[in-house]
């Protein structure tokens, strides 16, 4: 009983630490991530007191770039996940409460969205528009990433809407909007949050994948994906340039997955009592 | 009662669950016996500990639950709590079988029911595939399934609830176990189907000579099936008696209260005599007598001193201070049937 709870707590702490590092890190480690040092003497240095994580081939401080990248990557994931959650939840709830033919129409769109490879769409979009500012790239990622979430939300909403307490509300004479707002939405937020946390992790990995093929966040802005991309040419010489951002991504994604799992089950939050 | 004659003897059984909310003493000092071939009903409401008692007989308690040291479960002369897991596994299904309340979840949806019955013979007796299948079909026919040869090839979802319960009985009784533990076997069924299944259980029991520990909350089922009755409340057996004694002269206020709370056909009243309050959680039993805050006959002694089982008459035991206080007992005027 307490083992899953422990896992969720660890995940929350880890994710919290990553977020905290992104927020206050650049403020504590006061080094310009884009400042180019003397190339002859300071490029590709291994970790040292002056540069705890070394420097890259442009003699920029890796720690500073990693922290700056964290800001961009996390903000990127958050924006993409928010867009996906809002669009997906709206479509899912609307579909669940609509007449059967409207529901089928919504779900056909969802099926279509799920059928098209997302990475391909993103590559085409970025290729077509050139390098997008990272914010717009994140929105694009959200717009192409809500389909699965909508399906989950619809299924859960339908289940709740035919459940006894919703029927009781209809029997009291509650209009549909009231049932949706008071009875369905509060009980479907767990599902939405869990799916959104996964979408967040997904967006970070997808951004890394896009960066890897040179279509991600535009340089010189540092994101974890672009750091990997910059470092890979020197993989044999300065492996930490690639490995460190990769580890950061891995930690964030795994922690987010564990957290989503916990949120979905709801147990740790529910057992703490009424305030949920 | 002596250790040597009883088929099953349980002494001071305690099963605790340790969790965030504290220690739940789900079963707390339960002692009883079951003789060869007899039917004993274990009656109680939800939270009384009757299902946990049943599962602990098969040692099927999962963490955080634990059978506490000092508990004794003796079956056919063997101390079950001292057996290694392999010996225990050999016993389950062969000497002690279990029938569950919800036949849909007790059956595996991806195998045919014939395969599942045959599996019992294959596991425990190493029967060949063909032989086990033949025995499975015969057993299914004995449980009253028409066209058993064909039905054996069906999957659980193709059968009705009553049919699935017949399949479970076939699995349980295939190897003529000495003891069948039936946990609310008819609760999920409609009345007309319940009647069929109870008849079937009685018939099969006569054929195999098995003893049955029947767990139920329904006194109608008790009256019909059992020779002896154990009433559980708060993780303890509060009363044990032969069935007619229990209905005619219950000695524990809880038993008497349950018997009066039931509506019965043919004896209408304007009000039912309900027992006030609800069962407290197993983490917070009251001090002294666990029933006292719902009892109409409570006095100081009930809070200060936990009652122990006292013999009311031979074979009739109750865990209540009234038993040793004849004056109060007479005043309490416990009666089974409503007047």
């Amino acid at each position: 009983m307490s083992a899953p709870l422990r896992r969720v707590q660890v995940a929350a702490v880890v994710l919290g630490a990553v977020v905290l590092a992104a927020i206050i890190g650049p403020w504590l480690w006061h080094v310009d991530p884009n400042a180019v040092g003397p190339l002859a003497t300071a490029a590709g240095l291994p970790p040292s007191a002056a540069h705890p994580l070394g420097t890259d081939e442009n003699a920029r401080d890796v720690l500073a770039r990693l922290l700056a990248g964290a800001r961009i990557s996390l903000a990127f994931g958050l924006l993409a996940a928010s867009v996906a959650a809002v669009v997906g939840a709206a479509v899912g709830i609307l579909a669940a409460l609509s007449r059967p033919w409207v529901d089928r129409a919504y779900m056909s769109v969802v099926d279509l969205g799920l059928a098209i490879p997302r990475l391909l769409v993103l590559i085409i979009v970025t290729a077509g528009f050139g390098r997008l500012p990272w914010g717009w790239l994140a929105v694009t990622m959200g717009v192409t990433g809500w389909f699965g979430l909508a399906r989950l939300v619809r299924a859960r909403t339908r289940e709740l809407a035919s459940g006894d307490f919703s029927v009781a509300a209809f029997a009291l004479g509650a209009p549909t909007w009231r049932v949706a707002a008071r009875h369905l939405l509060p009980n479907v937020t767990g599902t939405i949050t869990a799916a959104a946390v996964l979408a967040f992790a997904n967006a970070i990995t997808l951004e890394a994948a896009l960066s890897f093929i040179g279509q991600g966040v535009a340089i010189p802005t540092a994101s974890w994906g672009s750091l990997i991309n910059e470092g890979r040419a020197q993989l044999g010489v300065t492996p930490w340039l690639t490995v460190l951002p990769a580890i950061a991504i891995a930690i964030t994604v795994v922690a987010a997955g564990a957290l989503a799992d916990g949120v979905e089950r709801g147990a740790p939050w529910r057992s703490t009592g009424g305030a949920a | 009662m002596t250790d040597t004659t009883a088929l099953l003897e349980v002494r001071d059984l305690a099963v605790y669950f340790r969790g965030a909310a504290g220690v739940a003493r789900a079963v707390d000092g339960v002692s009883f016996f079951v003789d060869k071939g007899e039917t004993v009903a274990l009656v109680g409401e939800s939270g009384s500990g009757k299902s946990v008692t049943a599962l602990s007989l098969l040692r099927l308690i999962d963490p955080p639950g634990r059978i506490e040291p000092g508990s004794v479960i003796r079956f056919e002369g063997t101390d079950l709590l001292a057996l290694d897991e392999e010996r225990m596994r050999q016993l389950r299904g062969r000497r002690i079988a279990m029938v569950f309340q919800e036949p849909m979840t007790a059956l595996n949806p991806v195998f045919t029911v014939g395969d599942q019955v045959a599996e019992v013979a294959r596991i425990h007796e190493g029967a060949s595939r063909a032989d086990a299948w033949k025995r499975a079909v015969q057993m299914l026919a004995r449980t009253g399934i028409a066209d058993a040869e064909r039905r054996a090839r069906d999957y659980p979802h193709q059968l009705s609830g009553g049919m699935r319960q017949r399949v479970l009985l076939a699995m349980a009784l295939l190897l003529s176990p000495a003891l069948v533990i039936a946990d609310e076997p008819t609760t999920a069924l409609d009345d007309t189907i319940q009647a069929q299944i109870l008849d079937l259980l009685r018939t099969l029991q006569q054929e195999t000579g098995s003893a049955v520990l029947l767990i139920t909350h329904d006194f109608g089922v008790v009256a019909e099936m059992a020779q002896r009755v154990l009433v559980m409340y708060g993780g303890q057996v509060v009363e044990a008696a032969p069935v007619r004694t229990l209905f005619a002269a219950p000695a524990h206020p809880y038993t008497a209260g349950l018997l009066r709370a039931m509506p019965r056909i043919g004896s209408r009243r304007t009000r039912l005599d309900a027992i006030p309050g609800t069962v407290p959680p197993a983490t917070a039993w009251p001090s002294g007598c666990r029933f006292r805050d719902r009892c109409a006959h409570e006095w100081e002694k009930c809070a200060s001193e936990a009652p122990v089982p006292i013999e009311v008459a031979p074979g009739h035991v109750a865990r209540c201070h009234l038993v040793s206080d004849p004056a109060r007992r007479a005043a309490a005027n416990l009666a089974g049937a409503p007047t």
């Binding site: 006894d164 009291l172 004479g173 509060p186 | 409609d190 009345d191 109608g220 039912l272 309900a274």
Partner: protein
């Protein structure tokens, strides 16, 4: 049937079909006839019990009476108003007068709402009270159903099954209904708590002059609560009579079997049991003729039972029974013979009384 002028709820030929199947490789099969031509009247202030086994269509019937499910065909009239004639807004307004209590004490309350908010919701929807007045009414309602008013701020998970069931009853009472459908309200409760809730429901009925449709499968509870009883089998009413008549002398062979199947809580009594052959058939594939004929024990059962659908007809004043083998019947013996009948109708009254077991 009761006098039309006193009937609060009146149903005529209610039918509800569900479409099933129809996958990629399968044709849609026959619709499930969950309810198949149910007519009944519920008089003001009475308790009509609707009895039947799982799948008999009792829950669907109850929900159609409240128009929570739309009938496939047939009409429901509430206090003289045909529910089908109402627009959505008027229907919602009428819901004040008809309420529902559920079987499952866990699923019927929103886990994210305090029990006070749950009970208050109806007051707010119908603008019966606002603000502090609504809170006061909520506390009074909790008190009326035997809960402490100060528990209003607690969430459902803090309560036992019986207490949650009281919350559900308070929610139904909040809007001041005339009619409540009680859908197995005590089936999920333990014996000791069940008695408390039954007493509460009967008291509320007396004090508030409520009309109940009491859906149940436990006949001993039905005998305790009901004024009249309707027995359903496979989507149809097969017998409808006063409580005393149905318990003293059930006429339909199915009612007789159901009555005899109730275990008697007395070890000195052995019930004479009518053991039915086989299992209830599926409503997707109901038998022809009388739906009960494959399991029937009536001595005059014959070929005609598989061919003719027995009408629900009056056998004695106020006693409706759907069996043409129990005389008198509007289906004449000649008509039965024409349908292959070989055994003349004869009154079948199996002894359901019980014997003392030899000591």
């Amino acid at each position: 049937m009761s006098d039309a002028s006193t009937a609060l709820v009146r149903a005529r030929d209610l039918t509800r079909h569900f479409a099933v199947g129809g996958g990629l490789f399968r044709k849609p099969s026959n619709p499930i006839r969950a309810v198949d031509g149910v007519s009944l009247d519920i008089a003001r202030g009475e308790t009509l019990a609707l009895v039947g086994e799982s799948g008999s269509g009792k829950t669907t019937t109850g929900r159609m009476l409240l128009h929570l499910e739309r009938p496939t065909s047939g009409t429901v009239t509430f206090d003289g108003t045909d529910l089908a004639s109402l627009d959505a807004k008027s229907m919602r307004a009428l819901r004040r007068r008809m309420q529902l209590v559920f079987q499952d004490p866990f699923g019927s309350l929103n886990p994210r709402m305090t029990i006070g908010d749950t009970v208050k919701e109806g007051l707010l929807i119908h603008h019966l009270a606002e603000g502090a007045a609504a809170d006061a009414r909520t506390r009074a309602l909790l008190d009326e159903v035997g809960l402490r008013p100060e528990w209003a701020d607690r969430y459902p998970h803090e309560f036992s099954g019986g207490q949650r069931q009281r919350v559900g009853i308070a929610r139904a009472l909040s809007v001041g209904p005339d009619f409540i459908v009680l859908d197995e309200p005590v089936s999920a409760l333990d014996v000791s708590v069940q008695a408390q809730v039954i007493n509460l429901l009967m008291e509320l009925q007396r004090q508030r002059s409520l009309t109940y449709l009491f859906i149940a499968h436990d006949l001993s509870v039905v005998e305790h609560m009901a004024d009249r009883v309707a027995v359903m089998y496979l989507g149809r009413i097969v017998e409808l009579a006063t409580r005393d008549a149905i318990f003293a002398e059930p006429l339909h062979p199915y009612t007789q079997a159901l009555r005899s199947a109730v275990p008697v809580a007395d070890p000195n009594v052995r019930a004479r049991r009518i053991v039915l052959a086989g299992e209830p058939p599926s409503p997707a594939n109901p038998p022809s003729g009388c739906p009960f004929h494959p399991r029937c024990h009536h001595p005059a059962k014959d070929e005609s039972c598989a061919r003719l659908v027995p009408p629900l007809e009056e056998k004695a004043p106020g006693r409706l029974v759907a069996c043409f083998k129990q005389p008198p019947s509007s289906v004449s013996w000649e008509a039965q013979q024409a349908a292959g009948g070989t055994r003349a109708p004869t009154l079948h009254l199996p002894v359901l009384a019980t014997d003392a077991r030899p000591a």
